[in-house]
């Protein structure tokens, strides 16, 4: 119970005021005091309180004086109000909606939104281009993005065909022999690749060669891809390889990762091309797609 709580006295006070008397006192209306002379002092005090509002208006603050000028608008007062409010450590009142539209602070807010939108758009574009480069998007989308990027920038994004070619597969449209043009096809694990070489793997009719075996004639410039005796890996879109020639004597295969051994030349074999110099073994998984 607070020291101001006089509820208990209000209950049983014989001099308690009724609402009508209280209203008359507060409104300054004449009150029939009669036996209530105790209210005369209250009535006089209320009259003195009322005089407090009859004083002249106090001088306005500089910010308000700026607003009260004849040539001042509400917007000017908004600009002038902020330093005064900040100097007293209070938050300024919210401006009206019309003022808010013209507020420089909110214009900068729009700029901020535009900047955020620009950053988001840039991040999205970077993500799409990155996903395209990482081959994570569906092929049609990837083609579209790759074409846009390649037309707008000097970047060259490898498409799905570049990436999906198994190592050593010769593009039939490439007269130079595709992967064989660098001559490393014969250095496949297992020594596969050169049909003229006795180190070539045993022919696999129908393309049954193990992965990583070059089906064409790597290392043999000018040899047609899929020629008889070529490895026999089935390439989609290409006719099946014809039946192989006479079986070659079995040649021990070389395990991947082991040092390459130069295959001996079989006497009597048709020398179609000089045997490429031995090259270090290359893991197929480490191969980088050839530049286009």
């Amino acid at each position: 119970m607070s020291p101001f709580d006089d509820y208990s006295e209000d209950m049983g006070d014989p001099l308690a005021l009724d609402d009508a008397t209280a209203e008359a006192l507060l409104r300054g209306r004449p009150v029939a005091l009669g036996s209530r002379q105790d209210l005369a002092a209250v009535s006089a005090f209320i009259a003195e309180m009322r005089d407090c509002r009859s004083a002249p208006a106090p001088a306005p603050s500089p910010a308000l004086a700026l607003l009260l000028r004849d040539d001042a608008g509400v917007e000017d007062a908004q600009v002038a109000e902020r330093p005064a409010a900040v100097s007293r450590g209070r938050a300024p009142a919210l401006p009206s909606p019309l003022v808010r539209r013209r507020s420089p602070a909110l214009l900068s807010g729009w700029r901020q939104r535009l900047a955020v939108a620009g950053i988001g758009l840039g991040a999205a574009l970077t993500g799409v281009v990155g996903a395209t480069a990482a081959d994570l998007l569906p092929h049609p989308v990837e083609q579209v993005v790759a074409s846009m990027v390649e037309s707008l920038t000097p970047l060259d994004i490898p498409d799905e065909g570049d990436r999906d070619d198994p190592p050593g597969v010769t593009d039939p449209s490439d007269p130079a022999g595709g992967a064989g043009q660098d001559g490393d096809g014969g250095a496949r694990p297992g020594g596969a690749g050169d049909p003229a070489s006795p180190t070539g793997s045993s022919p696999a009719p129908g393309g049954g060669a193990p992965a990583g075996v070059s089906p064409g004639s790597p290392g043999v410039p000018g040899a047609p891809p899929g020629a008889p005796g070529s490895g026999g890996v089935a390439v989609p879109g290409l006719p099946p390889a014809p039946a192989p020639g006479p079986p070659m004597p079995p040649v021990p295969t070389t395990l991947p990762g082991t040092p390459s051994v130069t295959a001996p030349t079989i006497p009597g074999a048709t020398p179609t091309a000089p045997t490429p110099p031995p090259r270090p073994q290359v893991d197929p998984s480490d191969r980088v797609p050839p530049p286009r």
């Binding site: 607070s2 101001f4 709580d5 006089d6 509820y7 006295e9 209000d10 006070d13 001099l15 308690a16 005021l17 609402d19 209280a22 209203e23 507060l26 105790d38 209210l39 002092a41 209250v42 006089a44 005090f45 209320i46 003195e48 309180m49 009322r50 005089d51 407090c52 509002r53 009859s54 004083a55 002249p56 208006a57 106090p58 001088a59 306005p60 603050s61 910010a63 308000l64 607003l67 009260l68 000028r69 004849d70 040539d71 001042a72 608008g73 509400v74 917007e75 007062a77 109000e81 005064a84 409010a85 007293r88 450590g89 209070r90 009142a93 919210l94 401006p95 009206s96 019309l98 003022v99």
Partner: protein
Amino acid sequence: MSLGLGFDDVLGAARQGAGWACSRLYESLAPAVAGYARAQGAQDPEDLTSEVFLAVFSGIRSFSGDEAHFRSWVFTIAHRRVIDDRRARTRRPPPRSLEAEPVPERRGTSSQSAEDDALGAMGMERVRTVLAKLSPDQRDVIALRVIGDLSVEQAAAALGKQPGAVKTLQRRALATLRRQLSAQGVSL
């Protein structure tokens, strides 16, 4: 001071940012607002009055109503500023007593004589001394009803209370004043 029949025109011009209209509104209500701030023991009543009217003119475009509603709206803002001032004073290190607080000198009262100023200051000081005996809620109700000239319903809206609660508070406030003034034997 009441603007009467020209209130709508003045309000419309003030909405457009006309300085003369804002001046009319300020002159009509600023004395009462300043008196309300003084009666509540505000630290700087004149500055508080200016802040109230800056807030009023900032939001005047969204206001709609007659002069009584406008007055009620202005005193609602004034009451909130007084509450802010009261809270700020309680946070400041040397708390100043409401009774011991000197009445600040009035600014811009060149039309009044020094004697009137002195009498007004003495009367204001007495008013503040007596009102300090009331609880904050009772003081709010009495000040809004007498100095703000608000009705029970308008005071209730400004204070966020029910009209019945306002009536109870004003009845108790008057009873307290009666006891205080009788005990002091002060002849006002």
